[in-house]
Symmetry: C2
Amino acid sequence: MKEIKGGVCAAKGFKAGGVHCGIRKSRDKRDLALIFSEKKAACAAVYTTNLVKGAPLTVTKEHIADGYAQAVICNSGNANTCNADGIEIAEKMCDLLAKEIGIDAKDVVVASTGVIGQPLDITPMAEKMPELVKELSVDGSENATEGIMTTDTVQKTLAVEFELSGKTCRIGGIAKGSGMIHPNMATMLVFITTDVAIAPDMLQKALSSDIANTFNMVSVDGDTSTNDMVTVLANGMAENNLIDKEGEDFDTFMKALNTVTVGLCRMIAGDGEGATKLLECKVSHGKTLDIAKTVAKSVITSSLLKAAMFGADANWGRVLCAIGYSGADVDVNKIDVAFQSSKGKIDVCKNGAGVEFSEEIAKEILLEKEIDILVDLNDGEFDSVAWGCDLTYDYVKINGDYRT
Amino acid sequence: MKEIKGGVCAAKGFKAGGVHCGIRKSRDKRDLALIFSEKKAACAAVYTTNLVKGAPLTVTKEHIADGYAQAVICNSGNANTCNADGIEIAEKMCDLLAKEIGIDAKDVVVASTGVIGQPLDITPMAEKMPELVKELSVDGSENATEGIMTTDTVQKTLAVEFELSGKTCRIGGIAKGSGMIHPNMATMLVFITTDVAIAPDMLQKALSSDIANTFNMVSVDGDTSTNDMVTVLANGMAENNLIDKEGEDFDTFMKALNTVTVGLCRMIAGDGEGATKLLECKVSHGKTLDIAKTVAKSVITSSLLKAAMFGADANWGRVLCAIGYSGADVDVNKIDVAFQSSKGKIDVCKNGAGVEFSEEIAKEILLEKEIDILVDLNDGEFDSVAWGCDLTYDYVKINGDYRT
């Protein structure tokens, strides 16, 4: 498996693009994105568990109920959520695109991200739809990525190449992360494309099983968004033998998918709103997988620990505290904690009690941009990883007045 | 019932005091507090549910197992948690006090608050114990309050006078709040004293039932501390008829207790670390009490909403979002949301969708120091209130480098 360029256009038969249509008057960036597959593709998706759901999710669910889709349309700047006419507007977005590009509206995946509870005007999107379709290109992944970004500061994209039944296959994805990130069963907006030939049910199986250990283990601020969605389109143009059951090919595909999703998770966490650091909590030797996951997620979610990491303060008591209130069944007297970065590793707690350590060395380790928080529960065989970021002045600044 | 002065010394027979003994070298404030009852008192307590528990909690639990206590000793600056010799040090604190003041060490409640995982040196406390006992006074509540404060910026204290079986009774309390506040079954450090005559089991019953709707409904940062504890000492010196069963007197006592606890909750939330605003989420018409409480707590805990309140931004979508992911069984299409302060009230959401409102008036309302977030679930008969605060630059600053 090797990393390649091209994002959502890395896979054969996919084009993408993005235009500015002024959904938020104050922002000059592209705010409408399109991903298109030459051939109709198998499609799988997972959605937020928030009871308040964006209208686009309802429409998408209906459109891909048959297991197939051919295009993704997504705007940023407005979530089209909690609006009386939300469903109608989401349907209109699909209709406009379908008409312009010549496909069935039922084959369009629609997504929105941005402010909740403000009506989404269809007019600027209707006006720019012809331009957007004209802009479609095999080099368009970056423009599409810009189109789905909100307060993201970097583009999040990754693609890999691998082999299945003697054929070269590709899978690539783009993501929009930043704030309101604490996924549960799905997350943020992530669009993944592949040219692998795979049956819709196996594609859904691969995605659903993957996100449990990837996107669901990311937290920026503990707020589960109303519009989280991850979709995969697989158009089969790599001409590998169709994956329609579990086995070696399915495993190979899962591995490639996981490489893309883990990479995007790290990018989303590291670019959390206001973040200066990517935090990775690696929990080992839990009694059950659920315990290991609960502990990892609780640590990565603690505001106190996140603030301490911002200050490069080796305040490991906050790690223990977050484990203690996580609800997981652990023996606190067995827990070891260490901090690690490219500058090295330092043990700070053994058997639930502090050990002497050099504050100077700890500081040097914690001043790095990527920090591992290593928690050994010494209680079993299960490991888990969660991704997060530090809590900074800028998080408060960004969210103190997001709507203006 | 009327509010009176005196804090934990308002009730008959109680004295208090506080001294500086230098537990944290960098701080010049009082850091060791004492509360003392002339007569042995019935004692009830509730503790954190964090699996990582401060050593003082273990010692206190043992000491008050018989339902009685006569003194409270509490240091700030060090939580005496996750230390190998924690129990031993907590016992020593009780022994030193008992010897100096002439009571049984088993009648001492001990508490600690501050950094987790740093050994607590007994020496400075041993040296200052005679001075602390000498300092005891019926005017000592303020000194004791200072002694338990960490990053608190204001003293939290409240006392009321009321009548039971023709006798004047008093109940008063002091609290230490600030960060790591997200109680579950108990909270922070709160010491309450009363001269009411009440059997230990009824005192425990009153306290346990009260905190479910008071301290457990406060959240500053979502982190449940390892050292949370609320205790009540009742020495019976008001000479009312002993309360040993439910009934009118018990109800009157509960009401007085509730007045003190709600008052302290509001003070703790309003003085959360870095807070500029007290937030009160009032949920009405939930299908069950549990639903109303879950919704109130989820709203008050949302980092995004807290940041919006800091910025006086009427971003009600975040209220809906927090309700949606709370896990409570609600019908989102029935929910109304309004913001309220001393400047008035503004409706922002009806039946789960936005309504037009004046951003100018909303801003004026939200610029106040005390904000009510009114959520009407329109789905039943149960109400609940939760208290919290905004998320500010100063929260990050305080917690970015708490240990130095």
